[in-house]
């Protein structure tokens, strides 16, 4: 012995295989979780929502991306919770032997040397297939190799998600509000397009008149007259109603001279016992 037992080399080889096996299991876990999350999102119409607003943009793929991130995150948590080691993936007696040999790798004795030789002989026959076979998923009394079961589940779920996302079924279950939003978007896009044309061109087919506060103004939209009233101070919002086309005649006149006329009617509207007092107040106010 040159200071280290030969079975350690076999163990290092198996550690490498085991790490790759664990990584594959984690990726499969991530695939399964991501598929489940994406399928749930499809049922909620989230990918359709993103495609609707950000079609052609990278944002449209964010549900898929988020599903993948959640999948990786979930796989990491699962990996932490179900932490196992290589020894658990060996046949029971070999596992105990190997663990004992590994934990006593620094000791030198006749028994340890015998154990090391035996472990080396048996570990040299262990490969990735033996490790895969040992990790099993149990269904009552039956069990299947975990890796194969996860791989099958991941493939099925991914296929389902792919088919489901491209089928008409996905659209049919889109929420109703999206459809009305869709109509609005089309109309807004039309209007916006026409305004751009109006700004660029000389004609003013939209015909929104200049003085609009408090007065009905006229907007012509696709040869339909719209009466618009904007209220001063509101700065936003309008009320529109369709009217028939009508001729409007505008005439100019000279401004007249204003004369102050005391209004009796106002005095009369006051309570009789206060009339005199209020009258004196206004007379004093006028003379002061």
């Amino acid at each position: 012995m040159d200071g280290s037992y030969e079975f350690l080399a076999d163990l290092r080889r198996l550690f490498g295989i085991y790490r790759r096996f664990e990584l594959s299991l984690r990726l499969l876990n991530a695939g399964i979780i991501a598929s489940l999350v994406y399928i749930a999102a499809l049922f909620l119409g989230i990918p359709a929502f993103f495609r609707f607003y950000w079609e052609g943009s990278a944002v449209a793929f964010s549900p898929a991306l988020i599903s993948m991130i959640l999948g990786l995150f979930g796989a990491k948590i699962l990996g932490r919770r179900s932490r196992s080691d290589l020894f658990a993936h060996l046949e029971e007696s070999l596992s105990e032997k190997t663990k004992a040999a590994y934990d006593n790798r620094d000791s030198r004795s006749v028994v340890m040397e015998s154990l090391a030789e035996d472990v080396k002989r048996r570990l040299s026959k262990v490969g990735v297939r033996e490790i895969m076979k040992r990790r099993r998923l149990s269904f009552g009394e039956r069990s299947v190799p975990l890796f194969q079961a996860k791989a099958a589940a991941a493939i099925l779920l991914l296929a389902f998600a792919a088919v489901f996302s491209h089928s008409q079924a996905g659209e049919e279950i889109s929420p109703q509000p999206f459809r009305s939003i869709s109509d609005l978007r089309d109309r807004a896009a039309d209007l916006f397009g026409q305004e751009e044309v109006a700004e660029e061109g000389a004609s003013s087919e939209t015909g929104i008149s200049g003085e609009i506060y408090g007065k009905p103004s006229l907007a012509v939209l696709e040869e339909v007259n719209l009466e618009l009233i904007l209220y001063p101070g509101s700065l936003a919002g309008f009320r529109s109603a369709e009217t028939d086309p009508m001729e409007r005649l505008f005439t100019t006149s000279e401004p007249g001279v204003g004369v102050a006329v005391p209004t009796e009617q106002y005095i009369e509207s006051l309570p009789p016992q206060h009339r005199e007092i209020i009258k004196r107040y206004f007379e004093n106010l006028a003379t002061s």
Binding site: K99, N104, V110, M112
Partner: protein, 316 residues
């Protein structure tokens, strides 16, 4: 030395088979008891055998001693047995006209000591055995005498006829590595016993292991590798006894050491070069049962130490 160890290690399964075969000539059945006593011998610990009278405790110990080339002595414990009767005493002897003191060794100076019905000895005499059992030495007057290796005390006691007995104190019980129960034989075994011991010829055993071989096997026992997981499990089991419901006092760290050593010995005895979980689970009972003191309430409810150990071993 190393070559000797290698040879003895290779021959160990054959040696153990031969010992079991020789014991089997005299003792019918009781394979588990034989195994546990051999574990005690390999681990270098003392064993307390407990059974009802007539189940062959003394015969078993004498037979085991007979298969080895070791000095064997028997102490029949009685209430009037004095410590000097065990350890030995200093005599005045006349040599060439002058008187000299000479130490006369007691029966404790043997490799295998059978302390029969140890609970009948007075506490003073029981205590005299403490030093010998723990330190493997005897002090008489100002002189200390080393006991020859290997040294085991195989003590017996029966759980009935408690009148006139002195139950072993906990400190002394703790010095026994194992406490082994001997149960009644089944009907087939009893038939064989009857056949074997009702004829003229009494079965005899041959010596199949030498002192040197036994010492080497003891050394090999300590070399049997055990995983860190099992070491931790053993410690956890022992620590659990201290806070387990229904237990007044749990086992000491000496129990942890004993459990590991006994598991190693069982592995070697069964031809394994590593300790398995099964070794730990089997040896937990004889290692822990005399180190657990149940509460009064548990005893009133008829709970046994073995039941508690079983629950503890399931929990770890």
């Amino acid at each position: 030395m190393r070559d000797d160890l290698i040879n003895i290690y290779k021959d160990a399964p054959a040696i153990f088979d031969a010992i079991k075969e020789e014991i089997g000539r005299v003792v019918v059945g009781q394979k588990s008891v034989v195994e546990q006593i051999l574990v005690g011998i390999l681990a270098g610990g003392h064993t307390l055998l407990e059974s009802n009278p007539g189940l062959g405790k003394t015969l078993l110990v004498k037979t085991i001693a007979g298969t080895t080339g070791l000095n064997f002595s028997r102490i029949q414990c009685t209430p009037d047995l004095m410590p000097a009767d065990i350890t030995g005493t200093t005599l005045i002897e006349e040599v060439e006209g002058s008187k000299v003191f000479r130490f006369e060794e007691g029966p404790i100076f043997a490799n295998i000591v059978l302390a029969d019905e140890i609970n009948r000895a007075s506490p003073r005499t029981q205590s005299a055995m403490l030093e010998a059992m723990q330190e493997k030495q005897v002090t008489v007057g100002k002189n200390t005498y080393r006991l020859e290796e290997p040294f085991f005390v195989l003590a017996t006691q029966n759980p009935i006829e408690m009148e006139g007995t002195f139950p072993l104190p906990e400190a002394q019980l703790d010095r026994f590595l194992l406490k082994v129960f001997i149960d009644y034989p089944n009907s087939e075994e009893e038939y064989q016993i009857m056949e074997r011991y009702t004829g003229h010829a009494e079965p005899k055993v041959e010596r199949v292991i030498t002192r040197r071989e036994l010492l080497s096997l003891q050394q090999l026992t300590r070399d049997v590798p055990i995983s860190d997981d099992l070491k931790r499990a053993a410690i956890k089991a022992v620590i659990s006894t201290r806070s387990w419901e229904g237990v007044e006092y749990g086992a000491s760290p000496r129990a942890s050491i004993g459990l590991i050593l006994a598991s190693k010995a069982r592995a070697l005895l069964n031809g394994r070069d590593y300790v398995s979980r099964d070794d730990l689970e089997v040896m937990a009972y004889p290692i822990l049962r005399h180190r657990i003191i149940l509460t009064f309430d548990s005893e009133r409810r008829g709970v046994k130490a073995d039941q508690v150990i079983s629950e503890i071993m399931k929990s770890i």
